[in-house]
Subunit: 338 residues, 2 copies
DNA sequence: CTCTCATATTGCAACGTGGCATGCCACGTT
DNA sequence: AACGTGGCATGCCACGTTGCAATATGAGAG
């Protein structure tokens, strides 16, 4: 165990309180006292005790990141930005995986580690907006991804409908007419897939192109294997397609892998596009066309939003819906002219 | 704020201590008392206060995972396993990124968040074995990756020399004779790259094949971009090669991307192999041959090792070197016969 | 009816910190 | 010389929990 305030105080010949004042930067300390105390602090390598500070002050300096899976590249990259950004707020990030399980999401929502966090940043999958809203007064919460709980909970996201529509338009403009979608998740409350599907259909419909059940493939989860399985189903179904819009890059990479293994040329025979702009997509063969959310901005906005809410617990600001920018990344898998 | 022990005690008409006994499962509590207290606990939704427990008991229930970059797929997957496994020990994982920076590694090694963690699991890059060993009596530490600090610090790893040699032998057996290596990091204290290089050279030398500076490419860091840059250098150098062994899958994916963009056929013209078995490699085009460390075992071993050390702080066990299994994953990028 | 013993419950103290209120001293003013 | 002022330092307490030791209760034996 390291030294505590009392030991520093005894050694410096001052009271515990004075040492505390020095440590916390309280101005009314005589320069020479401050210096003497500081010397003893350095000598004994005193480090403030986080537990005591937390108990006394009610702040732990911890923020929980609650997400389905940290191993997923999108969340991994986001977590990286969040961990970096958290430093500016003197926060440390704590990772909690839900696996997309409703019970686990509920449990973590109610209280991560017995309320020991200052706030939560959560990417909900299985929980409905209603359940997200109906929660006891525990730590402040900021959601990642658009939520229907608009006006009730803070959330930070990109405009999924617009982004999906833009990407679909890009496929149409490049000459594709039979465009399938992979990644619908009707079993999840998380509305992200539904929003991307809406943008996809809007764009097709605006261009007078067909869409319908045979071109829309559900997935259980968002791993590459799910994308691969969906692509297999699509190809086996005999449906005529010249482009596939996958709702995440991981799905797209799995789908593209199967297409290539089956002898299809990407993009000549089949254009493939994804969503998320994960690093893998950039170096895939061919490189993956995708929607690139500004992840750094997403992370920064989530932290700033949470910080504001934590700072004003007595006088809570109204719930905010923060939309961060995205851009289309056109790469070889679905080029401008294909 | 939630209810505390005192409030539960008053309401249940017992002492604070008895409520504590109920909560902690102390056996000497009369069944009906236990039941009555439990009812009040449920009523008030009492949740133990983590800060107070931490202050009183000295255990925070937190374990810091200190690594270069959480967004890197290998570390992301490992973190996923660690977070899952941590639950069995009632631990929560806390993520700290170093970016491979020596100063940052040193700082985190000395004390993450003012000693507020029960232990550290760290993947050092820039710190020398000496510096790792020479540290004050802070939280127990388990290192990921082989370390020269053998006998002084716990570490959990695979046998890098053997794995690299096995992979190189596989390339040789598949008929390759000019085998390059991408991924040496002479500027880092972390000996992993050096170990893989040693295995690579051993296998080449045993087969009577050439190796040397022109076939060994340094990288600054381990991103796909570094692999891509190294491959560009290699191809531009005019060196004759028919296989490339990259010391991580990320490097391999970057390298393979460049090779394919340059019109090389993988594996016909150039076999590419990686190391780590990240999910991207499995679905790359072509799928990446690699060394697959047993990441779940790695995580489990690290946690078990740390748990033992935390449990016996007064009577510390001798430092352990734990080697977990790996296997060769032969895929299309470097098949058996190519 | 008392003594013993096991079971059940309790009060006290302490973990290290920071808010609050107060004490002390020196210095300048009346 | 007495008084007020402001800078500086301090003691006490509470945050919520658990280890320790002590006490209350009831059953069974002598």
């Amino acid at each position: 165990m390291g030294a505590n305030l009392r030991q520093v105080a005894e050694r410096a010949g001052v009271s515990v309180r004075t040492v505390s004042n020095v440590v916390s930067g309280f101005p009314l300390v005589a320069p020479q006292t401050r210096e003497r105390v500081q010397r003893v602090i350095d000598e004994l390598q005193y480090k403030p005790n986080a537990a005591a500070r937390h108990l006394r002050g009610g702040r732990s300096g911890l923020v929980a990141l609650v997400l389905p899976e940290i191993a997923s590249p999108y969340f991994g990259e986001l977590a990286g930005h969040l961990a970096d950004g958290a430093e500016a707020y003197a926060w440390t990030l704590l990772v909690q995986q839900t696996g997309g399980d409703a019970a686990r999401e509920r449990e973590l929502l109610d209280g991560v580690r017995g309320q020991a966090v200052d706030g939560l940043i959560m990417s909900p999958w299985a929980l409905s907006p209603g359940e997200l809203t109906r929660r006891p007064d525990s730590a402040p919460l900021v959601l990642l991804g658009e939520q229907d709980a608009d006006g009730l909970l803070d959330h930070v996201a990109i405009d999924n409908v617009a982004a999906a529509a833009a990407l679909t338009r890009h496929l149409i403009e490049s000459g594709r007419t039979r465009i399938a979608a992979i990644g619908l998740q009707p079993h999840l409350e998380n509305g992200t897939a539904a929003r991307r599907a809406r943008g996809y259909r809007q764009a097709l419909s605006a261009a007078g192109l067909p869409y319908g059940k045979e071109l829309e493939l559900d997935v259980e989860s968002l791993h590459r294997a799910d994308g691969a399985a969906a692509m297999t189903r699509l190809l086996d179904s005999g449906a005529e397609v010249d482009a596939v819009f996958c709702f995440t890059d991981q799905l797209a990479l799995g789908a593209m892998h199967v297409a290539i293994e089956r002898g299809l040329r990407v993009p000549a025979d089949l254009a493939v596009a994804g969503f998320d702009d994960i690093e893998d997509g950039r170096y895939a063969n061919p490189a993956l066309t995708t929607v690139a959310p500004d992840k750094a901005a997403l992370a920064e906005a989530a932290l700033a939003c949470l910080a504001e809410r934590v700072g004003r617990r007595d006088d809570p600001p109204p719930a905010r819906r923060i939309i961060v920018p995205h851009r289309l990344e056109v790469r070889r898998s679905a080029p401008v002219r294909g």
